[in-house]
Every structure is written in C-alpha cells, then in structure tokens.
Symmetry: C3
C-alpha cells in the first residue's frame, strides 16, 4: 500500500484488514511503531478533526508531523499549470509540494473542491495534479469529490454499532447557509454501497448526485450485493432505515452558481433532521454526520444530543482508522 | 488531581506540594515522565507564553501536543446553547470539544472573557460550559475571570524572590488603550491573599474590582492570616510594598461599555508605573507583571528594564509550574 | 559555535566541516542526537521551506520544536526601542524574545527587511536588536540582508552538482510584481565569492547591489581567489556561466520607494530567465533559485522544469545543512 486516496482502490478484504489493524492498535498500542517517521500535512482548507487526528495518530505511534497552511504563515500556493504568476500566490505547487514531500516520510493533503466546474471537481483535477508531484506515501485528507479517511471511519463506526452489512443507509440531504462540496456525500455513498448496504440517497430537486458518482457506487453495490437508489420522498426513504446519514451539499444542476443555489435552498429550510422525522426511521436507527454540523440548521439539537447519535464515535474513529492507514503505509511488515 | 481550573481549589499544602514538584523537575529533569502522553490545546484567543510554554512543558517531560486555533486553519466555534447556527461559526463546542478531548490525554483551554456581561464572565459561563464537555484532565489556560497557571507561577516567583508570605503586595491598576479582562487581576488578588499577604488593590474610580472577587480573596486572606483592601491613593498604597504588581483591566462600573471606559481612561494616562512612583515603594520592592505589557503606556521602560523587575522570571516560571501541573495530572504516582 | 547568523563568520574550513557533517548525517542518520532538545522558532514573516525544514530537522535528530507567528494566534510584536506602545503591537520583543528563549535550547528567527531605510536594513538593525535579547544558540532564518541557511544549502548544492569552486556564477536579477528584500542576493553573492567563484551580478539600471554588499563579497573573493563584477549586459554575463542563479530584488537607487520601483520594472518584463537566454550559458549550465518563484514572471516553466534546474535540490539541501547547524550548535562533541 503506497497511497490512500480512494476507498474504491481497496477490496472489501483489504478494508477488513485495515479495520482489524485499527482494532489491534486500539487494543494493543504500539507507541514506537513509527518512531522517527515524519508526516507532512498540507491544509489548503480549514480543519479540526483531520488536523488534530492526523497529528495525534502519528504521536500515538511514536512519529511526528508538521503542518503547512497556505495563507497562514505560508505563501499562497498556485495550482494552475502554465499560468503567469502575477497574482496573490507567491509559490506554485510544482515546487512547493515536491519540496515538502522531500522533507517527510508520508504526506497528507486537504484540498477542497473549487466548486466552479463540476467535471473538474469530479475528476479530481486539482488533487490529481498535486498527487503526481508527491513521490512519498500519500493520504487524501479530503479532495474535491472524495474523503476516504471519513469513509473508512464511518465503515468502522457502522461495524462498531453492529449495523448489518446489508442494512439500509439513507444519505439524507440537509440544508446549510451555502453550497458545500460533494466530497463526503460521494465518499459515504460509495462506502455504504461497497459495504453491501441498501443505500437511499434522499435529496430535493436540484441536488441529485452526479451520474458518475451514482454509477461508481452502483458498481460497488452490484459487486457487494447491495443497491443504490435516489429519491426526494423523505418519508419513504426513512422508513426502516438502520442509519440516517445527514449531509449538506451544493446544487448539482447549477453547480457553482451560488445565486441559483441560494434561491433553491430558500425553499428547503425544512430539510433538517429533527426528532419527529428521524423517529420515522425506527427506534433503533442510528444518526450519523461527519461534522462539523450547523445545529438547528442541518440537524436539530435533540437528534445530535440524543442516544442514537453516532457523531462523536465517527469523529473518534477518524483517529483510530488513520492510525491503521499510517501504520500500513509506514511500518515495516 | 483531575483538573487545574482555579487555584482556590487547592489548599496551601497542595500548592506547596505542586511548587516542590516544580522545583524537583527543575533540579532533576524527568525527560520521559510523560512519554506517550498527548496534550490538546484549544486557543480561542491569542497567546505567546501560554502557547509556547505548554508545548515546551510537554516536550521537556517527553510528551507531545497539538494546537487548535479556531478561525486560523480551523472552523470558528459556536459556544451558545440552542442557537440556530446560520452565522460565521461552522462548528459547535458541543461536538468540537468532546472530539478533541477524545484524541488526547489532557486538554487545555484558553477562552477570554466576552466582556459584555459582568455576571456571566465572573461566573465563568463560557468556560464552565466548555469544561463540562471535557472528560479528560483539564487545565484552565485563562478564562473570563481566572488564570490559575499565572497565579501559580507568580506564587513561585514570590517564593523565589524570598518575598515574605506576610509581605505587602500592591495590585496596581495601570492604563491600556482598551479594556482588558479581569482574569489576571482576579487570579493574582486571590493568589496573594491565599498566600497570606497584605494585599492592597490600588485603582482609580470606576475600576474597583467586583465584590465577588474581593469576597473570595478576603475569605482566602482570613484563612491564611492576610488582608485585602482597596484604595485609589497610590502614595499610601505603595508605601512599604514588597511587590508592585501592575495590571490593566477594564472599567467595572460600566462593564462592557467601551465608550465610557475610553472616556474614563482619557483622564488616567498617569496611571503608569514609573521609576519615581515605584521608588516610593522602597529600594527592595519588586516589580511584577504577567505580560504582555505595553511599554511606556502601562509601565515605563526604566522599571521594566530595571534590576527589581521580576517579569522575565514570572514568565519563565509559567513553564516551570505548568510542568508540575502536567506531571501531577498525568504521571503515574 | 554559538550562533549561525552569517556565513561570513565562518572560514572555508569551518564550512567544509559543516558540509561534511551534513553529509555524514545524510549517510548515517542520528535519530537520537538531539533527544530532549527544543528549538524555538519565531516567524515574523511567511515561510514554507524554512518552517517545514527547521521542524523536520529537529525531528530527524530526535528533538522537537515550537513555532510562534506574531499576528497569527500570537500578539503583534513591537521592535522599536523606547516607543510608547499605544498601537497594534501588544508585546515588545524585549520581553517576548527572552521569554521564548528561556523555554528552549536553540532559537531561530525570521525577520524580513522593513524595506524603508537601506542603511538600517544593511546593518541589520532589527535583527541585531533581536539577537542581543537571546542568550541561547541562535540561527538566522532570514534577516534584512542575510540568509545564511540558504547560502549554506546553495554551497552544498554547488558541490553536489560538481560545480568547480572557481566556476562562473551569474546572480541574475529577474522581475517580480513588487520589490523583494536583499537578503538572498546578499547571501548568495557572498557565498559564491567565499567559495572562490567568478561572480557576475547581472541586473538592470536601478538595481545595482549596494556598495557595502559588493565590498564584503569582494573581500571574500580576494581571500578565496575569486572575483565579483556587476553588469547590465545579460548576453555577456551569461556566456560560459556554470550557474545562473536567478533572484528578484527591489530597486536600490530608490530603496523603499514603491512607486519608483514599479515604474522602473514596468520596462523590465523581459528580465525573465527563459530557455533561449539560459541556453546562451551553455548546455551544462545549472539553474538555481531559492524559491518561492513566480513562474513565467521571474522564470519560465521550461527552465524550472528542465533537467538543468537545481531548485528542488537546493530546497532539500536546506533541511540537510540545517541539521548540521543544529547538530553543531546542540549535540555534545
């Protein structure tokens, strides 16, 4: 294993082994496993869980890390090829990334979607350009249309909660003051399908997930014995769900058009998970969200703070599974 | 010892033990005492000494740390309960804090006063709400009305300088371009009283310390054989002082009212500690300040740079005593 | 060796030993050499290579570090002596620096030129004032008119590329949207002269290097058997060069006058290193730049990405030589 960029690169057996390694490291800490190893972290966008858990993951395994945040103590980074750099960015990724990679043993990049060109974002043009510049083990810490660390943590969280691999997971669109990227919905959709689940994407008109994401998930579902459907009927979607996974994302029919998106979501304030709607999923349904979440916009306090919420477990599992990824990438076998 | 939130939670014997531990760690370093332990640091406000000394404290004991600074590479954190989060803050402390705490072994929070509602600040409403979310050992790195690490460092500094426990300490208001929080004056006032000193709070009209702070300090003084009085007569206050502890704080009679505060302090430019006034305290008096300090506004260069200034010792003692706190919270006994 | 502030403080033998130590640490890592040692880093200005490589340098030798970035999570620092601090800066270097130095075992400062008063910058008034406040081993991480870590890395890069010590190095002015400091040109000019090279400074009218810098370099060249000349004739300068070292710097005839500088460089867009001009240096010439570099403003993509470019090697050598400096300053001998 040289890179951890997309959960789709790994078979269900691979993932089972990673999750077993995660569990082993929880049960039997290895505080010197990565002694002397250095993780370089490049954050093009804000972070709380990823920033903290990646640093802690190395620390718990005896390694260390450094963090570079362009625009905050570091030059702005240019990512476009061939451009005449007479703007705000003082440094190009073509130098910056190989240099940083040359200092460390493993590298992690967070680079959100640009949110302008759907095709560019879905094909990971920016992250792909960055990844080709790194000749060290590389971890995707959230790209335009993927978030494999979140997906792996969520898979473990589903296992921890004993959610059947054939259980029903509703990926439930919820509202937000502005358009958010497709990274988490894409990653969770594929993860649940890859796990063999009955996946229902429940979203209003204008927010259908792009065909490429659905096709990828359906291929995974077909191989695993699961299914993927989309609907805008919340009542039908929630019925019998084992898991309601709430997530915000931007309008896909007018991708990158903030005015249209805002106009659309002005009618969608009730796309919030509240106790009443959540209850239709059944008394044993679990609530999931990747965090951060806007309380009483996307999800009501009573759901987040209720006993069926797995959000803290998910966030803690970020650390747990990332330790397994770091261990697999770096520890001698 | 599970938490270090207020020096008032500790008896004089407890404090004596902590200071003895601090001295022992200075004399006999324990570079592996906290090996494998991780400190999570949340800075809601700027810091220099606290930020550096907490990281170094862990490093000197063989542990590590990570730093989260909301708004700088991390989401803004919402602290109000029940709020509809449609503003700037993307994450609520109700998720953010338990998640961060779940990654580490000990947690430290800096969260200044909001400076609007005196009662809310004095009762530590914000810090209290945060503290309840943390199930790990917790350190107060300055809250609305407390700064126990500063107080403990100052206690050690007084001991180091052989200031008698019954000596006279003048907590001397000095001016500043704007209203500063009550955290340090509250902590120093109580610390000196708890140590048994003759404490004189010397401040102009409008800047009297709130009755609750005085009552708490007087209770400590009564138990320790000391005293606490307030005055606006600088000449009387300084006479015979062993220590002049300069500190800036905001108007308390119109708390949170910047216009009134600015108007009041327009007349108070001479509330600066200068060599001439400091000399009235006697040739052996010490000068203290928690730093940062605005030179030639709050204190004249000649005092800060003079041989009687303890400010660098105080700042260095921050590291020394915090190592003892970390050791007590985390090291096996 | 107590300080690493200027390559001119070291003989060619000293430098040879440092580079040999760097090579030894590359070939035979010493992952515990600086165990328990702490590096304090103060960044008054942005950084990528320096920030990452200094942290990594300590980590690769078993030590640790902390970073303070005034204005980003830390108070703004005042540097002027005797000033009444009623502006933005909340803390003075006279307290801030000794306090930070008291926490660590070695200290590094980056403090760019103020860019207003040439004499003040050339005589390192600001850095000099800061250096006197530090009683620990100290490293200059780029000051107004020096960058010894860059110079040492470049010296190693020249050695690695087997550039003759008597070879021809052209320090080639290139354009940039605004005036940049003299630190790197000053350091590279002196380094190449100190190494014994035939140094040609090639720059347009208005950008001649200050006489003091030339005099210092010529003294070094005289001792080492090299030479230093200036010209504005690019064709003559490039002919037969072993190395073309491109660098941006501000107008020196109207130092600190942004309007004049902008007007001057409006005519200088073609002062960019392109393949065609670089080829006149010969097929075996090397291209160097300290980074960050503005692509297609200062240097064309084809040169930076071509096989003769040493820029990534230079940047990696920053880590390599800084480890030697840290080792020499801190490791027992």
């Amino acid at each position: 294993m040289k890179r951890f960029l997309d959960l789709a690169d790994f078979t269900r057996e691979d993932i089972g082994e990673l999750l077993a390694l995660a569990q082993r490291l929880q049960d039997h800490p290895e505080p010197q496993a990565l002694a002397g190893k250095i993780l370089g972290l490049l954050f093009m966008n804000p972070s709380l869980r990823t920033l903290a858990s990646m640093q802690v993951g190395m620390q718990r395994l005896g390694g260390t890390s450094f963090v570079i945040t362009p625009g905050q103590g570091t030059w702005q980074l240019e990512t476009r090829l061939g451009v005449r750099m007479d703007g705000a960015a003082a440094e190009h990724i073509r130098e910056g990334l190989p240099v940083l990679a040359s200092y460390c043993d493993v590298f992690g990049i967070r680079a959100f979607a640009e949110g302008k060109d759907l095709e560019a974002d879905l094909t990971e043009q920016q992250f792909g350009a960055m990844a080709t510049l790194i000749d060290k083990p590389l971890i995707n810490l959230e790209s335009a249309a993927n978030h494999p660390c979140q997906a792996l943590a969520d898979w473990k969280t589903l296992n921890d909660a004993a959610v059947p691999t054939t259980g029903k997971l509703v990926l439930h669109w919820v509202t937000h003051p502005r358009a958010l990227p497709l990274a988490v919905p894409a990653a969770v959709l594929h993860m649940a399908a890859h796990r063999g689940m009955e996946v229902v994407v429940c979203r209003p008109e204008g927010y259908a997930l792009p065909p490429a994401l659905l096709a990828k998930a359906r291929a995974a579902a077909a191989a695993a014995g699961g299914s993927v459907i989309e609907t805008d009927d919340r009542a039908v979607a929630l019925r019998g769900a084992h898991v309601v996974y709430a997530k915000e994302w931007g309008c896909t029919t007018a991708y990158g058009d903030a005015a249209t998106d805002i106009a659309l979501r002005a009618q969608l304030d009730d796309w919030q998970v509240r106790e009443a709607s959540f209850n239709t999923a059944g008394a044993n349904a679990h609530f999931m969200h990747c965090l951060p979440v806007r309380r009483n916009v996307a999800v009501a306090d009573e759901v987040l703070d209720g006993p069926r919420s797995l959000v803290l477990r998910e966030a803690h599992n970020r650390l747990v599974v990332q330790m397994a990824v770091l261990h697999r990438l770096l520890a001698p076998r």
